[in-house]
Symmetry: C2
Subunit: 409 residues, 2 copies
């Protein structure tokens, strides 16, 4: 097989950053629709949070100095002058010799600078016996302790998760500028590939599994998926259909055969769609070597191998990187863990291997049982919790060695 | 604070299984909508996959016996009798002394039992020089190698991920029985809690952050979220509103203050909703001790602590377990990894701690930098990639120790 531009996995990651540019479009969306979007602009805090000094515990607001020296044997005594209710302002300030009851989250009266936990106090008819001293600031959340007005709250390029939306909500921010999410188009190619609904296949034919697996991953990741159906192996038909799909999407994946002929021809079609064209023609990866990446006037166009399991592995390893790059997101992309492998796994140096694996726990230890099988088999993926990654510099791992596992979660 | 039924995290997980029963309703959904649903019935394979004997490589279909002894120095010679096209049946069977070209994924002619990779062959005008021998079955995918007709394809209770849908698609299955996804209702309580849209807060008031963070997690996890707004601290109002929300949902979360008074009163309201009522009143966990769990005639009702960060941590640790239990799913629930902590983290034995952490890589090693902060602060969650889990049996971890990190991904 002629691979005229084979790259390592690391080189491919780097090329993705060089060839594909972030989408510049953004839009305002209501906060509750912004989850899993990428923030398009810096956001500064417009208010202090919590905005008032509040207690972190149930207890008595005091002046810390009044408690110094207090202990189990030698309590301090303070006059209880009132009680603060949740959501209300204290009725009066606090002076030396006084204490006021405050519930967790309640506002602390003026002048007081600490709270003694209720466990360390005894209220005897308005005379508070205090069995522990507190330091200034103890059990108090300052008005700007969570978020300070004017400070940078969230940076452009931040992934908006539940906690970021919570922080925005605390500010009364109800909509937020987000990068438009890329739309992913997909086509299956190959004379042997038939629609899912086909009742009876002829010998030599298969149903379009890849359209289903790629589509499911795209939806699981929260993106819009445009399925373009199946195109026969005809240069002009494929080119026309790809142009049409590209016009209404931000990137296009196709999957086709993994034979020499098909790969050369996919490469020609990809090159015909626009400049600079193909920049990766084969990746030193297993499974999935016959993968092609191109840029058609800046839009990613990727030909995945035809084998269902290979196509899915390649999509797992590279598609999220591409989607993140299109959105200007640089953080952690997909979950991974570490486990001890239960078997020796050979690998060629210079090639990155992704071995399907089942995870299980033995006492404290997580073990990764490799599932070997030909790359075409979807059944091996069905039994997998993730992929053991064997880096290019390694010639394989020994039974009991700790390996990185990319999780299917 | 009076916790009259404090449970450990492990006990709470166990009680969730005992008190909450799986939803019995299921429905047929189109395959492309089934992603992340739980399969409601066993599915058997109705067809063999691939359904025909196909080649795993580009090469020549042969009888393995014809290649025995072939080597670089002493090639075997076979007559090329044709070429198999993708998606088509071979035009004729193969006999001893013959070879036929087959592309990757192509059907193998009758009688042939192995494929020699193209790299090890040379076609000289129809005379194939063959420089390597193959064993019977080499580079051949058998007709039932991926899935065998009649075998159990997927078990009831399986989480339908991309690969499971791919396996179903390969069978021409276009719809699938799934467990109805639980609907999650949520209410915020507390006189101090004001609507998100509130322009100016009075001192002592906060906006409803928890409605946003819990809602975002529910949506991220792919469930329907019903937001019931904010209810003041009034027993009858709260009970009425909770009954109303429970009637249209499968489980109900509320968050309220974490003060003694509020907790006792939440517990009373939860008990008033139905039998058997409250079974967890406080969990030995940090943050989030003041958590209450009840079953109202079998439906989960959970009171989360009011602190935004505590509420989110508790929801992370327990809500997915509850949702999985409601769907009869018992597999891995949320992604976790291992990293070396960059600092000592003290912890009380008997209590499970979840410490917010930022993850970063130093060479090969992943490090977890704990982010300390009062449990009320959402800003510490904004800076976190996950939660370090310090199990109940541990009294803390030393700098450099390997810790489990639950990932926010």
């Amino acid at each position: 097989m002629k691979f005229f531009n084979v790259k390592t996995v690391e080189e491919t990651f780097q090329l993705i950053k060089e060839y594909y540019s972030p989408i510049q479009e953004w839009k305002m969306v209501p906060l509750e629709e912004a989850v899993q979007h990428i923030l398009a602009k810096d956001i500064h805090a417009t208010e202090n949070v919590p905005g008032f000094r509040r207690s972190a515990v149930d207890g008595y607001a005091v002046l810390a100095a009044d408690t110094f020296g207090a202990s189990e044997n030698l309590p301090a005594y303070l006059n209880v002058t009132g009680e603060v209710k949740m959501g209300e302002q204290p009725s009066k300030p606090l002076f030396s010799g006084e204490a006021m009851y405050v519930p967790t989250g309640g506002m602390i009266p003026e002048h007081s600078n600490a709270v003694v936990m209720i466990e360390h106090c005894e209220d005897l008819d308005g005379l508070l016996n205090l069995y522990k001293h507190v330091m200034p600031g103890e059990n108090v959340i300052e008005a700007d302790e969570d978020l300070r007005q004017g400070s940078l709250l969230l940076k452009k390029g931040t992934l908006l998760r539940a906690q970021e939306l919570g922080a925005l909500a605390s500010q009364g921010i109800v909509e937020v500028p987000v990068v438009r999410k890329p739309i992913i188009a997909y086509l299956s190619t190959g004379n042997e590939v038939k629609a899912l609904e086909t009742k009876e296949l002829l010998p030599g034919q298969v149903r379009d599994m890849n359209g289903m697996t790629i589509g499911a991953l795209v939806k699981e990741w929260g993106y819009e998926f445009k399925y373009g159906g199946i195109v026969n192996d005809d240069f002009d038909d494929l080119k026309r259909k790809m142009q049409q799909m590209l016009a209404e999407a931000d990137c296009l994946f196709i999957s086709g055969g993994s034979s020499v002929g098909v790969m050369d021809y996919s490469s020609d079609v990809l090159n015909s769609l626009g400049k600079p064209g193909v920049f990766v023609h084969g990746i030193s990866i297993k499974p999935g070597k016959p993968t092609i990446m191109a840029s058609a006037e800046g839009k990613p166009v990727i030909a995945l191998p035809g084998h269902p399991a290979s196509a899915m592995v390649i999509f797992h390893v590279f598609a999220k990187k591409i989607l993140n790059q299109l959105q200007g997101y640089e953080g952690l992309d997909s979950p991974f863990t570490f486990a001890k492998t239960t078997r020796n796994i050979p690998s060629a140096a210079g090639r990155t291997d992704y071995v399907r694996t089942r995870l299980f726990q033995e006492g404290e230890q997580w073990l990764a049982e490799p599932i070997f099988g030909k790359s075409g088999l979807i059944s091996t993926l069905v039994n997998s919790d993730g992929l053991i990654e064997i880096p290019a510099r390694s010639e394989g791992v020994q039974k009991g060695e700790l390996v990185t596992v990319k999780l299917f979660l």
